[in-house]
């Protein structure tokens, strides 16, 4: 047996096995991000870098009124916080319902997960047709309920919340699945013991189950924050950032500056700023995961 143990330790095989994946991600993910860092210090003539200018691009982003960085940052925050505020409670309610001892559980679960496998392009397309002010069913619903018609995507007061609803519809399943898995991992004996002690269902949920899955919920907050902060496609298709820039989030601005207006220096620098914000959010994630493993 001693021989066998040494096979798992002294062998060159694992190096051959990991080299392809390491090469692939170094070339496709790390090389480009380093290149982006370099590019962000360059002056560019549209798509061509023409010389080192230090941090000028960064200063420019924070000060140029045309770029209007802080307006986009505000939109990003609205989008992230608004989406989280709806997604997390909604996903939790569904996870709790699906964790009950009910018939057709698998059936309900697959219906509730379905939006997650739909592309952002299709989701945005579906919802822009739902939001259609002239022929859409939502306009009809408002009318039946006695409200005035709303330009869901054309009115700066409603565009952001409309975009958020589409985003929630597409992404809540992810949170729901993780919460459901966490709820299912709670040992039955623990719940039974509390019941024997006289706790009712509500007390069991808030005093026993919720504290047990609170770390999972924290992690979901952070994973979703990353996902939402980097969202481009849904917003691009629903509103292109309008009306009056009310949905012009940072990630979308990065994309449009790069590939609609071909201003690579602005686009790349915005991309690096987004990268830095991602690192900050991820560090929070690692910190929370670390705290979890200390226990």
């Amino acid at each position: 047996m001693k021989n066998i143990k040494s096979i798992w330790r002294k062998n060159r095989l694992p190096y051959y096995f990991i080299t392809p994946v390491v090469v692939l991600i170094l070339l496709v993910i790390f090389l480009p991000i380093i290149y982006a860092l370099w590019l962000s210090t360059q002056k560019t003539d549209f798509t061509t870098p023409i010389g080192f200018i230090g941090l000028h691009n960064y200063i420019n982003i924070f000060t140029d009124p045309d770029i209007n960085f802080f307006n986009s940052l505000k939109s990003s925050l609205q989008f992230v916080v608004g989406s989280l505020a709806i997604t997390v409670p909604f996903a939790l309610i569904l996870a709790v319902l699906l964790n009950k001892n009910i018939k057709y559980k698998a059936f309900f679960r697959s219906i509730f997960v379905l939006p997650w496998v739909i592309s952002q392009v299709a989701a945005a397309l579906i919802w822009s047709w739902l939001y259609n002010t002239n022929y859409g069913p939502l306009t009809y619903l408002l009318q039946v309920l006695g409200f005035k018609a709303i330009k869901f995507l054309g009115d700066p007061n409603y565009a952001m919340i409309s975009v958020i609803f589409t985003n929630v519809w597409r992404t809540y399943p992810f949170a729901m699945i993780l919460m459901l898995a966490a709820l299912q991992s709670i040992p039955e004996e623990l719940v039974e013991a509390s019941r024997v002690d006289g706790a009712n269902s509500l007390q069991i949920f808030f005093r026993v189950k919720l504290p047990l899955i609170q770390n999972v919920i924290m992690n979901i907050f952070i994973l979703l924050s990353l996902l939402y902060f980097n969202t481009v496609t849904v917003i691009l298709i629903l509103t292109e950032g309008g009306p009056l820039n009310s949905t012009y989030v940072l990630a979308l601005k990065t994309f449009k500056e790069s590939f609609f207006y071909w201003k690579f220096s602005t686009g790349v620098t915005l991309g690096i700023i987004i990268f830095i914000i991602n690192i900050l959010i991820s560090l929070l994630y690692i910190k929370i995961l670390g705290r979890e493993s200390d226990i």
Binding site: F17, V21, I33, I102, I111, N230, F255, S258, G271
Partner: protein, 276 residues
């Protein structure tokens, strides 16, 4: 007992109501795709089509470029699944079974990719692929998609291999089987459920990806379904009948696969997201 029954009915009622609400957007475009033009643009909207027509499917999908994009997407997705699986099952196995120098660093490298947002590397990828003459080429998309999915799949496969006892491989090794043989002939076949879970996770990503495909292809012949739908939608005057039919067709493969493999899909999602 009476109260328990009430709670039960309330639970089913809520679930049913929510399920109908969640499905309604998809039902609505299915409904539109089966209507003729006059009925699409009528108000109040008709919630059930009066007469069903498949004309939109002919004009919007089977008789249009969209069919080509459908097969482009299928080609790119399958290639990316194969490449990612080859690369990631090996790495996942090495990480699960072997102790080697630099293992910690490699795993950290893989984890840290999740901090890099796609939007931050689009411009560099565009410039690099143009310089290498790989712009507007499906091979580029396949490589990028594989790199993008590999870390997660390595993680899924790693936790899968860790769940398989290594006795079988060890007794084969004692019998003179090579370490390579132990992987290909024993561990890999046993990891089939993990491979299936990974495959569907990769498929959902590649089939739905838009930004990279938009950025790195330009000719109409190279478009994927997502970019095809986008350009149809941003063209002047949307033909909603044709567009909704094409959208329904784009949802079909993924929905079918999802219903058949949802257990694996959920398994992959939970083990990939928690990275534990």
């Amino acid at each position: 007992m009476q109260q328990n029954k009430l709670i039960k009915y309330l639970t089913y009622g809520t679930l049913l109501f929510l399920a109908v609400s969640i499905l309604f957007p998809i039902y609505w475009i299915l409904n539109t795709s089966l209507k003729d033009v006059s009925s699409i643009f009528s108000y109040p909207p008709k919630f059930i089509p009066e007469s069903i027509t498949f004309k939109n499917y002919l004009s919007g999908f089977f008789g249009s470029r969209m069919l080509r994009y459908f097969f482009n997407s299928l080609k790119v997705s399958i290639a990316a699944i194969i490449l990612t699986l080859i690369v990631a099952t090996h790495a996942g196995y090495a990480a699960a079974r072997y102790k080697f120098k630099g293992k910690k660093e490699v795993l950290f490298l893989l984890l840290s990719t999740s901090m890099v947002p796609g939007i931050a590397i689009l411009v560099p990828l565009y410039i690099i692929s143009a310089k290498l003459g790989l712009y507007d080429n499906h091979i580029t998309l396949i490589l990028i998609y594989s790199a993008w999915q590999s870390p997660q799949v390595v993680w899924i496969m790693k936790s899968f291999f860790e769940g398989i006892p290594k006795d079988m491989e060890e007794s084969a090794l004692i019998d003179g089987c090579s370490p390579l043989g132990a992987f290909y002939r024993i561990a890999l076949p046993m990891a089939q459920p993990g491979i299936a879970a990974s495959a569907i996770i990769i498929f959902v990503y590649t089939w739905n990806e838009f930004l990279i495909a938009y950025t790195l292809t330009s000719s109409t012949g190279q478009r994927l379904l997502t970019t095809g739908l986008y350009f149809t939608m941003t063209a002047q005057g949307i033909d909603w009948g044709a567009l909704t039919a094409a959208t329904i067709m784009s949802l079909l493969p993924i929905t079918i696969l999802f219903f058949f493999m949802q257990k694996r899909f959920i398994q992959g999602l939970t083990s990939g997201a928690t990275k534990g």
